[in-house]
Symmetry: C2
Subunit: 243 residues, 2 copies
DNA sequence: CGAAAAGTTGAGGATCGTCAACATCTGTGG
DNA sequence: CCACAGATGTTGACGATCCTCAACTTTTCG
């Protein structure tokens, strides 16, 4: 695993020790129910999963899509019980580690602490974008923004992606993430395809006109550059993500 | 200022030193534009303000309401430029401090660091609730949730609040926070008042049937209890907020 | 007192949801 | 290798929620 920052050897060892245990789930398996004890965090090793909440009458809101390399559960750390459910969108492999091991990091490595906090803050900003998207944009703008966000995220770990990528998410899931129904997501994506903005082959998506999509969704890439200038121990030499 | 945690004397001194400078703004003043250099954080001393974004065509989304005692700008720390604008909802007094002073905290006090991070995570969870609210609830449920969240937040610093509080926010602002228009907020609140759920006198709101509101909005209080068991230096003796 | 801001109400319309039928894909077991 | 069930995607008709525009009233503040 690489990150946004050059780390010392002990820090790298620390990170590695958190990823010793692996566990697998099949597509649609529930990893953790909302309300379960929040004593674990997870690092995504492979596959996609998502956080969600369900209302009493069955309405579901998908809150976050988690990709390989993500740390899941930073916000839950503040509470005794998990705020969200966690479910596998594809077959996945996660590395769970207990949250009380965080205090080692907090004591031993201010620099790693700052990095963890930064990851949490990046998630936070992505949520702000999502609120704006759901609160003030119509269906096609929402879908455009959603797709762009996914590509941006994928490009961190796969810089070779140009315009085509695999999207292993059902339209119902996308709808639940964007405050729409599966039906309307289908209509919207069909229209976008007919308009020449995207192209679909099976589960793969091709972004045909990224400029147009960015304009309509007022999109900004939150993953590309981060600010490490305030980090204890000094700024990272490179501001861009390492492999 | 009190918090969720007993702190050591040096930590308290540290917090106090961050609040040396005060600055005042009038109602509707813009404290910081979106895109401005993100080199400052703010502690709210008095008054209410809010974070927001604006789209090119003028649509606005209010992202967060900030109350006295809040720390503003934790997520912006990850970026070189501010992600959101910041505007005064009432006359306010803020204590700005430079974000590069955070590294002192990170180096010297793991415990204070954990507390700061926890505050950020609480904000995060409130945003998750907001996404669910906007994405999957209709207008009256949204308004109900919004009011309950405000009361819960106010009760941290004013435990004597029972069912009545001052709400110095225009209906346009509330609408921009909930993904509605000012017109529809007016209609919705009038209906809620006629239904006996709330009562309005000038800018004051009285929650008449808190149980009913909580049920309809599926509300959970995110401010009441936090988990400090993982903190370096051990858990806080009391889990509930101190004065 | 006057101007700007904020709230209310009505009429009409757009966007998106609901329901339902059907088509297609996927994975598992015989 | 095929059959079948479940999951997923598509399309149409209709309806509900919420928006837009506009006029008006009330409140706030210099």
């Amino acid at each position: 695993m690489g990150y946004y920052l050059d780390l010392s050897d002990p820090d790298i060892a620390h990170l590695a020790s958190l990823q010793k245990h692996e566990q697998n789930w099949r597509q649609r398996d529930i990893v953790r129910e909302s309300g379960a004890p929040a004593d674990l965090l997870y690092v995504v090793k492979s596959g996609w999963c998502y956080s969600y909440t369900i209302m009493v009458d069955g309405r579901r809101q998908v809150l976050q899509i988690h990709h390989p390399g993500d740390v899941i559960g930073i916000p839950d750390v503040a509470y005794e019980r998990a705020v969200t459910g966690l479910q596998a969108a594809t077959d996945i492999c996660l590395c769970p580690f207990p949250k009380n091991r965080l205090d080692e990091i907090f004591r031993d490595s201010p620099r790693l602490t700052a990095l963890l906090m930064t990851l949490g803050m990046m998630d936070h900003v992505v949520l702000l974008d999502r609120i704006r998207t759901i609160g003030r944009m119509n269906a096609d703008e929402r879908v455009a923004h959603f797709l762009l966000e996914i590509v941006s995220r994928l490009r961190i770990t796969s810089p070779d992606i140009t315009d085509t990528f695999d999207l292993p998410l059902s339209q119902e899931l996308i709808g639940d993430a964007l405050g729409l129904t599966n039906v309307y997501v289908s209509r919207t994506m069909s229209l976008m395809e007919r308009a020449g903005l995207i192209q679909r082959m099976d589960r793969a998506i091709r972004i045909c006109d990224e400029r147009a999509l960015k304009d309509m969704a007022d999109f900004q890439d939150r993953y590309y550059r981060i600010d490490t200038s305030w980090f204890p121990g000094g700024a990272a030499p490179a501001l861009e993500p390492n492999a």
